[in-house]
Subunit: 187 residues, 2 copies
């Protein structure tokens, strides 16, 4: 793998920091320092500063999430298997990051929604892409109504990631996987 470019290092640092600490708490200075980038170079790549960088970080967060979702459905025999594996992975990542590395979109979304039109739109588009990908996988497995079940799966992982973070335990994620399995079977 080639060394990441300055731009890639900045976007990756932004995704990590927004996920752990939130958008407002992460200063542009901190982002530039964390990426190990000269100040001028940072502005060269992101003349729009933190907001523009955040749009790219949201894009990376969605790409990363979709890669996990795709992998879950490639390896799982049923939709239930896929969801269980994915939620378990999310719980492991949360524990490995000392219960701070939850959803890379959620904190930023709650902080900025409707405050920054640019970031609001990027979050909406990001969640839509996520929902569409999931709907596609569910449709391919014959799980209907796929769009509603996809909303349930996103709802459950988001709520469970919040509770797991607060309780410092992956139990809410395990329980959410059980409940999604019940919904898939009842559908």
């Amino acid at each position: 793998m080639p060394n990441p470019t300055t731009r890639e290092r900045m976007v990756s640092a932004a995704m990590t920091l927004f996920r752990r600490e939130g958008y407002t708490a992460t200063s542009w200075r901190r982002l530039v320092d964390e990426a190990g980038t000269p100040w001028g170079s940072a502005y060269h790549h992101f003349p729009g500063g933190k907001e523009q960088l955040a749009v790219a970080a949201i894009g990376l967060a969605v790409d990363t999430t979709l890669a996990t979702v795709d992998r879950a459905f490639e390896r799982g025999e049923t939709a239930e298997d896929a969801v269980r594996w994915w939620y378990r992975k999310a719980g492991q990542a949360l524990a490995a990051g000392d219960y701070r590395s939850g959803c890379p979109l959620a904190t930023l979304a709650l902080e900025v929604v409707n405050d920054s039109p640019v970031l609001t739109e990027a979050c909406r588009a990001g969640f839509d892409r996520w929902h569409e990908t999931l709907t596609g996988h569910l449709t391919a497995r014959g799980c209907e109504p796929a769009a509603e079940l996809a909303t349930a799966i996103v709802t459950n992982i988001e709520g469970a990631l919040l509770l797991s973070r607060v309780r410092r335990s992956a139990e809410p994620l395990d329980l959410a996987a059980d409940h999604v399995a019940t919904l898939l079977r009842a559908a």
Copy 2:
């Protein structure tokens, strides 16, 4: 009803602002201004500043949420009725506040969890109180396993409030109420 005291005005302003804009984005100056309180009086009530005020705001947020939950279970014939009424109320409040007034704990919890030990503990204790109250209502209705169903109900409203906020639509909350009803019936 007597006029609210300075302390009550400050706690109420803090809950509203942390809910809409988050903890980090809300400065102490803004909180003091919003409560219409002299600077010295604000420090008299909260010598620990914003963090101490936030602990009180978390307490008020939980009290407010529990009052809604209690009301939902008093008026609903079944647990399903109660959850539907409560989730619908949450959707109406969200829409009335231009899709910014979501869960009064979630944004703050995601921002500060593990960063401030005091606020982390206040959030954990707040979610625990919420969970215990719900578990009590479910047990009283014979819905078992009550503790797991209570976790599912909190998980679903938290995830759905996030999605509803991002999509600017109460649909995810309505769908989450349907899904909780399925879980209650399957239990």
